[in-house]
C-alpha cells in the first residue's frame, strides 16, 4: 500500500477509510474530519482510533469520574493526583509512594499467560514512569466457577503469567484476591496493582517541555504484537462468531523490563530527563500525543527511526503497536550523551526519534513525508465524551430475601460440617497453590504478605517506616446495591489496613463492569462512582488514580459489578504490625462491632445458590471509630483479623489455621452469627494482661466489644462443636490442588 500522506489526504477527501473496523463510530469519524479540516491520513486514523477507544479515552466513564475531582477531600498527603500515570502520596520522612491498579481482563481471557504477564508489566511501567522504584505487586483476580472447564484453561495460565513476569522482575507479590462466580466465565478479571517508592524530589511527570529537547524511544524494539489491543480487545464485547483475536495480545519479556527498570532508575538518579512516559495501551500514539499534549504542544517525530523487530511493519502499525517494555523520554540535548551511555551499560536500545518544537502540532514524518499533522490535545485529551443512558436494571425488582432453603446449622454436628463445607469452598479455601507460585521475599522488605489482611512493606531499614496495601471488592453486594457495595468495599479495604496497624492514606480503584451501552450496567457504574466519591470525601481519602474496564460481558450477561478498591496506608514502625494468625495459647478473643441477621450476599447463601435482596448499609461513624480503635490499640493486640467473606466462621478458622493453634468460642445464634457478613467487625486476640485495657479502649471509642472465647488446643471449638485442626486443615488445603493440581 502506498504511503498515505497529509498531502494525499488533502487531495483525496473522498477515499473510503476503514474507521468502523478500527472501532470508531460514524460521528467520531466525522469529528476527526472536522478537527483536521480534511480526512485523516491512515496513520492519523490509526492514532485517533486507539486513543479514542473506551480503554484510552474513558469516553463513557468521564462524566461520572469527574466526581472524584469535584468531591475530592483536602489532603496534605497528595503530591500528584489523577491524570498522571499514577498518583503520588507523601508518607513522611521525605518518602513519596505511588501506587495504581489496572485491568488486563480481555487479553487474559484470550491468552491467559501473556495477558496476565503483560498486565503486570504495564502497571509496573506506570509506577516506574513516576520516578519510583517498584517495590511490590498485588493481583485481585476473578474467574468463572472453579470446576468449569474454561476456568482450568484460564486460571493456571493467569497465575503462571503473573508469577513468570513478576518473579523475574524481582517484585514481591504481597496480596490480592481470588474469587469465583459464574458471571466471570468468559470474562475473567485480571487486575494488577503496583506500588513504588521514591524521594519527593525524584517525582517525574509525563510532559514534553523545552523547544529543541530530544524525544528518545528506549527499551525493546517495536514489533507487530498487540496492534489495536485497546481498541479491538478491551473496548468491545466478545462475540463467539468473530475470528480469534490472539494477535492482538501483547507478548511480554520480563528480562527486558527488569533491565529497563534498573536503566531508568540510574537515569532518574542522574536527573537526565525532562519528562517520561511508558508505552502501554496505544503504544507510540499514546506516548507521543500525551507527552506533547501535557507539555507545550509541539513535537516532530521521524517514525522511520523507530527500531523494529519486524521490518515489514507499516507506519500505521508502528503507531498502534503495543509491544511491551518500551519507554519514551524527553531529554535535553546536553544530557543525551550521558543518557545513551547508561542505556548502553544496561544493553538497552535507545534512539532519538524526534524533538520538541515551539509549534502547536504533533508532526510525524516517515522517510521525510508528512503522515501525521494533528493538534495533540485532540488525540490525547479531547476525545469524545458520552453521557450514556442510565436505567435501574430490571433484576433489582425481582430480588428475593434469603429463603429457608439456606440452612442455619445449630447442632454440634451441623456446625462442624457447615464449617468444613465453607472452608473447603473455592472462594474461601487455602490459596497457597496460587500464592506459592509468587515470590514474596525478594527485595527483603516484606513484613506481611498473603494470606494476611494487608501486605506490609518496609520502606526504610533504619527508621522502619512502612506502607500497607489492601485490595478488596464485594461484587455480590455491588450487585444488590452498587452505591453501598462500593462504599463497603472501600471501608473493608481501610479496615484491612488498620487491622495490620497502618493508617489509611489514599485510594486507587479498578472498576470492572459489563457493557456501557447497556443502561443497566451504566446505572451500576454511576452508582458505584457516586458511592466511592462520597465515602472518599467522608473519610478524607484522595483517589489518586485508577482504571475503568468496560465490556466484561458475554452476550447479554454482564459480570457482577466489581469495583476493586486498593487502599494505601502508612505505618510508622513496621515492627509494630499486627498479624492475623493466633500465635500463642491462652490469649483472649474479642469481637468488635455489631451484627445483624441479613445473610444477603454472604458466601454461605452463595453456596446454596442464593444472593438475597439487600446489601448491608455502611455505618460510617462506626467504621471510623473502629479504625481509630484499631490504630490506638495496635500495641495491645497479639493478632487481629477482619471479618469479611464467610463471616465469623471463616475469620476464626483462618486465624486458627495460620499457625495451627486452636480456639474455643461461644456464639448465641450459631446459624446466623457464624455466617452473616455484617461489615465493620474485627476479631482481636489479646494477652490476658491487656484484656481490660482493650475493653476500655473500645468503650472509649464507642465500639461495641464482646468476649468471644480464648485460644489454645488442637481444635476449633464452637459451642459444643469440636473441629480438629487436622480435619479443618485437610478440608481447607485440599480444594485447590484437587481442582488445579
Amino acid at each position: 500500500m502506498a504511503l498515505d500522506t497529509v498531502s494525499i489526504a488533502q487531495e483525496t477527501p473522498d477515499t473510503a477509510q476503514p474507521y468502523k473496523e478500527l472501532g470508531l463510530k460514524d460521528d467520531e469519524y466525522l469529528r476527526i474530519k472536522s478537527i483536521l479540516g480534511r480526512r485523516p491520513t491512515s496513520s492519523e486514523l490509526a492514532m485517533y482510533s486507539v486513543m479514542w477507544s473506551e480503554h484510552c479515552s474513558y469516553k463513557s466513564s468521564k462524566v461520572h469520574l469527574k466526581q472524584f475531582g469535584e468531591k475530592a477531600p483536602h489532603s496534605d498527603a497528595l503530591l500528584v493526583g489523577i491524570g498522571e500515570n499514577a498518583g503520588v502520596v507523601d508518607v513522611g520522612q521525605g518518602y513519596a509512594v505511588t501506587f495504581k491498579i489496572e485491568s488486563h481482563n480481555h487479553p487474559s481471557f484470550i491468552e491467559p499467560y501473556q495477558g496476565a504477564a503483560t498486565g503486570v508489566g504495564g502497571i509496573v511501567r506506570d509506577i516506574l514512569t513516576m520516578g519510583a522504584r517498584p517495590i511490590a505487586v498485588m493481583d485481585p483476580l476473578r474467574f468463572g466457577l472453579a470446576d468449569a472447564p474454561d476456568t482450568h484453561r484460564v486460571l493456571p495460565g493467569v497465575i503462571a503469567g503473573i508469577g513468570g513476569y513478576g518473579n523475574c522482575l524481582g517484585l514481591p507479590n504481597i496480596g490480592g484476591e481470588i474469587v469465583f462466580d459464574e458471571t466471570y466465565a468468559g470474562n475473567p478479571l485480571v487486575n494488577a496493582l503496583c506500588v513504588g517508592v521514591m524521594r519527593h524530589e525524584d517525582i517525574k511527570l509525563a510532559k514534553a517541555h523545552g523547544t529543541g529537547n530530544l524525544v528518545v524511544l528506549f527499551g525493546a524494539k517495536t514489533g507487530g504484537d498487540g496492534i489495536g489491543g485497546v481498541s479491538v480487545l478491551a473496548s468491545e464485547t466478545f462475540n463467539a462468531a468473530k475470528p480469534t483475536k490472539r494477535p492482538s495480545v501483547q507478548v511480554g519479556d520480563p528480562f527486558a523490563e527488569k533491565v529497563l527498570i534498573e536503566c531508568c532508575l540510574e537515569i532518574f538518579h542522574e536527573d537526565l530527563v525532562v519528562g517520561i512516559q511508558d508505552l502501554g495501551g496505544a503504544g507510540l500514539s499514546c506516548a507521543t500525543s500525551e507527552l506533547a499534549s501535557a507539555g507545550s504542544g509541539g513535537m516532530n517525530i521521524q517514525l522511520e527511526k523507530v527500531p523494529l523487530r519486524d521490518p515489514s511493519l507499516s507506519p500505521e502499525e508502528i503507531l498502534m503497536s503495543e509491544s511491551q517494555e518500551r519507554m519514551c523520554a524527553i531529554v535535553e540535548p546536553e544530557k543525551i550523551k550521558r543518557f545513551m551511555a547508561i542505556c548502553k551499560k544496561w544493553d538497552v536500545t535507545a534512539t532519538v526519534i524526534g524533538e520538541v518544537t515551539d509549534g502547536l502540532q504533533l508532526n510525524i514524518t516517515f522517510n521525510g513525508q508528512l503522515i501525521v499533522d494533528v493538534p495533540p490535545r485532540t488525540v490525547a485529551h479531547e476525545g469524545p465524551v458520552y453521557n450514556r443512558p442510565i436505567a435501574e436494571p430490571e433484576y433489582r425488582k425481582s430480588l428475593q430475601p434469603i429463603s429457608s432453603a439456606v440452612p442455619r446449622p445449630t447442632s454440634p454436628e451441623e456446625i462442624k460440617s457447615a464449617i468444613l463445607k465453607l472452608m473447603s469452598s473455592p472462594n474461601l479455601a487455602d490459596k497457597s497453590w496460587v500464592t506459592s507460585q509468587y515470590d514474596k521475599y525478594v527485595q527483603g522488605n516484606t513484613v506481611l504478605a498473603q494470606p494476611e489482611d494487608a501486605g506490609v512493606i518496609r520502606l526504610d531499614e533504619v527508621t522502619n517506616l512502612g506502607v500497607a496495601i489492601s485490595t478488596d471488592a464485594n461484587a455480590r453486594w455491588s450487585y444488590l446495591d452498587p452505591y453501598e457495595g462500593a462504599k463497603l468495599a472501600l471501608a473493608e479495604s481501610c479496615r484491612n489496613i488498620a487491622v495490620a496497624g497502618a493508617k489509611p492514606l489514599a485510594v486507587t480503584n479498578c472498576l470492572n463492569f459489563g457493557s456501557p451501552e447497556d443502561p443497566g450496567v451504566m446505572w451500576q457504574f454511576a452508582e458505584t462512582v457516586r458511592g466511592l466519591a462520597d465515602i472518599c470525601l467522608e473519610l478524607g481519602l484522595p483517589v489518586t488514580g485508577g482504571n475503568v474496564s468496560f465490556y466484561n460481558q458475554t452476550g447479554s450477561v454482564a459480570i457482577l459489578p466489581t469495583p476493586v478498591i486498593g487502599v494505601l496506608g502508612v505505618i510508622q514502625d513496621v515492627r509494630e504490625r499486627t498479624p492475623m494468625g493466633i500465635s500463642r495459647e491462652g490469649l483472649e478473643l474479642f469481637i468488635l462491632g455489631k451484627f445483624d441477621d441479613n445473610l444477603s450476599g454472604s458466601e454461605w447463601a452463595h453456596l446454596f445458590g442464593e444472593i438475597g435482596d439487600s446489601s448491608p448499609v455502611l455505618d460510617l461513624a462506626q467504621e471510623k471509630s473502629l479504625i481509630n480503635f484499631l490504630l490506638a490499640g495496635q500495641s495491645l493486640f497479639d493478632a487481629a483479623h477482619d471479618l469479611s467473606n464467610g463471616g465469623l466462621a471463616a475469620a476464626i478458622s483462618e486465624m486458627v489455621l495460620r499457625h495451627g493453634i486452636g480456639a474455643k468460642i461461644t456464639v448465641e445464634s450459631a446459624g446466623i452469627q457464624l455466617f452473616v457478613e455484617t461489615p465493620g467487625r474485627v476479631i482481636v486476640a489479646v494477652n490476658t494482661a491487656n484484656a481490660e485495657a482493650v475493653v476500655e479502649l473500645a468503650q472509649t471509642h464507642g465500639v461495641e466489644i464482646s468476649s468471644l472465647g480464648s485460644t489454645g488446643g488442637d481444635a476449633l471449638c464452637i459451642n459444643d462443636s469440636v473441629i480438629p485442626i487436622l480435619e479443618l486443615r485437610a478440608a481447607f488445603e485440599e480444594t485447590f490442588p484437587k481442582l488445579f493440581g
Binding site: N167, G170, F255, K258, D439, Y441
Partner: protein, 223 residues
C-alpha cells in the same frame, strides 16, 4: 572483610545478599558482571535472580560474563564462592560444581519456607552450623530440581559433599533431596534456598540463614 556480590543483568537478590553480609558484620561490595575486576574482595556471592532472563538455560549465559572468568580461576585456587539459587545454576554451568538444576517436578515456580538439614559444616560457608542442624530457609525458584548421574551422586554422598538436604515433602524432585552441595575443597558452595532471606524474623521465616554469612567471615579472619 570484603565480600563481593555480582550483579548480572536480571539479578534480583543482589541487594539482599549485600544486606545479609552487612548484618553478619562484613562489608558488602557490589561487583559488575561486565568487568573482570574482583576489587580485592575475599569471597564472592553469586546472587539469586534470572540472569539474562534465564534464556537458553538458567545460568548458561551468565557463566560467560567477564567477571566469571576471574571467579572461575580464583575458585580453582581456593577462593570462596557461594552461589544462591540462580548463582548455584551459574556455578553448575561453569563446572565449578557438578550436576545441573532442572525444572521443578511439578513444573511450577515454588516459593515456600523450606525445612532443611545442614549435613556438612566443614565448608567455608557452613562452619558456623551444628552438624545435622535443622533450619528453615525460603526456597523460591522454578528450576531447582538437582540432577546428576549416578556416579556423581555416589561421589557427592560418599564424600559428604551434600551441604543441605530438604526435609519433609519433596519440594522439587531433586535427587536424594539435595538442596546444596560443595566442591571437593569446600570453598565453593551452591545452594537453592535463599539464606539471605532468613536473616531477620521481621522479613523472613527465621534467622537461620545468617550462619552462611558469619561462617565465611570467621573463616576469613582465621586465615
Amino acid at each position: 572483610m570484603k565480600i563481593g556480590v555480582v550483579t548480572f543483568p536480571g539479578s534480583l537478590d543482589d541487594r539482599d545478599a549485600l544486606r545479609a553480609i552487612e548484618m553478619a558484620g562484613g562489608q558488602g561490595v557490589s561487583l559488575w558482571h561486565g568487568s573482570d575486576n574482583l576489587k580485592e574482595v575475599q569471597a564472592v556471592i553469586l546472587p539469586g535472580g534470572f540472569s539474562y532472563g534465564d534464556y537458553l538455560r538458567c545460568g548458561a549465559i551468565a557463566r560467560f560474563a567477564p567477571i566469571m572468568s576471574s571467579i572461575i580461576i580464583a575458585a580453582e585456587h581456593g577462593f570462596p564462592v557461594l552461589g544462591i539459587c540462580n548463582g548455584f545454576q551459574v556455578l553448575a554451568e561453569a563446572h565449578l560444581l557438578p550436576g545441573a538444576l532442572t525444572r521443578n517436578h511439578e513444573l511450577h515456580f515454588l516459593c515456600k519456607d523450606q525445612p532443611l538439614r545442614i549435613e556438612n559444616n566443614n565448608t567455608m560457608w557452613t562452619s558456623g552450623f551444628q552438624m545435622n542442624q535443622e533450619v528453615i530457609i525460603p526456597l523460591k525458584n522454578g528450576e531447582g530440581s538437582y540432577q546428576c548421574d549416578d556416579a556423581t551422586l555416589n561421589i557427592l554422598e560418599s564424600e559428604g559433599r551434600v551441604v543441605a538436604r530438604y526435609l519433609g515433602q519433596d519440594p522439587n524432585g531433586s535427587r536424594n533431596l539435595i538442596a546444596g552441595i560443595t566442591n571437593e575443597r569446600g570453598n565453593v558452595v551452591g545452594l537453592m534456598p535463599h539464606p539471605e532471606h532468613a536473616v531477620e524474623t521481621l522479613t523472613g521465616p527465621s534467622e537461620d540463614g545468617l550462619p552462611f554469612f558469619t561462617s565465611i567471615l570467621h573463616q576469613l579472619v582465621g586465615r
